[in-house]
Subunit: 239 residues, 2 copies
DNA sequence: GAGTGGTCTAGACCACTGT
DNA sequence: CAGTGGTCTAGACCACTCT
């Protein structure tokens, strides 16, 4: 039990309000001057906390205007799994989205294991197909925890894909990715217009806000047509 | 052309010496007190620069002892592609390594494209097999830029895998990963003891120090037996 | 005990930017 | 022009850890 330092305390309190959604993206956070009054400390101390948050990308700082909660970069800029729509458009191809199935049910044991839920709460199951240039690009199979995102029950997902919807509802979340190569199942092969057994790249993503599981998604890409790219540097520009 | 701030200048100078290898891992860097004299500034300023380097993992700071260039975490803690040996051992299986082929040649056009070399300089080509629990685990096909790592020409790689060797020679480097699913080629299937066409996970990594290409490696894993896991959080502990 | 980094203060001046 | 963040100073005290 060690006493956290003051700038850590300030950082964590602000971070908590951002992650909880209390301060959604775009919110102006208090000026440094105001925070020195709130916490009874010098400006250097709040500056250190805010500078840290800015470096992590949780806030943006603008002279004369103040500091604002950032718009989260879709999922992760590190592992370049963006919104599939952006992904397709950046390839210079037309994008289309088609809902294949949508159903609500109490979570089965399998569902619970996938999404990381303890109990058998209500989940929304969605299957959809993302297309690029008129051809199947990616099969999406998703579970949404309706306790975490009750608004999803009222969303048809007939034209809006689950990804963008969830990004709006739950802007800040942590994610675990699991990437595998598998032979296409009969169903996946049918939807993706492949021969059964074709090598496919499968990305499974488990998303949570704090301790609350939000969604599980399995994205199946035709293998040879798709690659994930990730950049790592020991040194990053300071901005 | 904007003047960089003083703490950025300090940070970049130290970073440069670490990345270039002038200060290899374990080197003690000057005390804050000494740096204030060197740069003629206050301690807060050098503290900001060193704190930044510590947060990026380039240095470790110890009270009373000083600050030291860190031992680089093998490849990347983010995308969990560690040393394959560690990977196998952490699965609780026996590890073995076998060199299949080693040859030196001027880079072909294909080599040059893969490794990112402009000219047709000398490269070392290596093929090796990593085993786990007596079974094939991963096929490694590698090119090493001998201009960047001339020491590699004298290393037989008969018992030491290229990965650990390079990590020692070129401790700090940036990497680009490209992850795909492919059907096993005839050669890969033979080495990995698979039926040809089996879905495999292929990780291609291009590594550089600054602008100098160091190595290109293609790792082929039997698909169903292997998954890459990556964690992403909006908020990370400060340490 | 001594030397290091960790943190903090109470100022200061400057650069940028929106009005 | 005024208000914000960006940077920096010249101190200070404390916590930790090595000897």
């Amino acid at each position: 039990m060690k006493e956290p330092s003051l700038h850590q305390t300030i950082l964590q309190e602000i971070e908590g309000r951002i992650l909880s959604g209390e301060w959604p993206p775009g919110t102006r956070i208090p000026f440094e001057h105001e925070l020195t009054v709130t916490y009874g400390c010098s400006r250097m101390t709040v500056n250190k906390a805010l500078g840290e948050l800015a470096q992590r990308g949780l806030i943006e700082r603008r002279r004369k205007s103040g500091s604002f909660v950032a718009q989260p970069v879709a999922q992760s800029a590190l592992l370049d799994i963006r919104d599939i729509r952006d992904e397709v458009l950046s390839l210079g191809q037309d994008y289309d989205y088609r809902l294949l199935q949508r159903s609500q049910r109490p979570a089965t044991h399998a569902d619970a294991a996938l999404i990381g839920l303890p109990a058998a709460e209500n989940v929304l199951s969605i299957t959809a197909l993302h297309g690029a240039g008129g051809r199947p690009f990616c099969l999406e199979e998703r579970l949404i925890n309706l306790s975490a995102v009750p608004e999803a029950a009222d969303e048809p997902f007939s034209t809006l894909a689950p990804g963008p919807f969830l990004l709006k509802q739950v802007p800040w979340s942590s994610a675990e990715h699991r990437i595998r190569a598998v032979a296409a199942s009969a169903a996946a092969a049918r939807h993706l217009d492949l021969a059964p057994g074709t090598a496919c790249l499968v990305v499974e993503r488990r998303t949570a806000t704090g301790d609350m599981p939000v969604t599980f998604v399995r994205l199946t890409y035709p293998g040879s047509l798709h690659a994930l790219v990730a950049q790592f540097s020991p040194a990053q520009a300071m901005g």
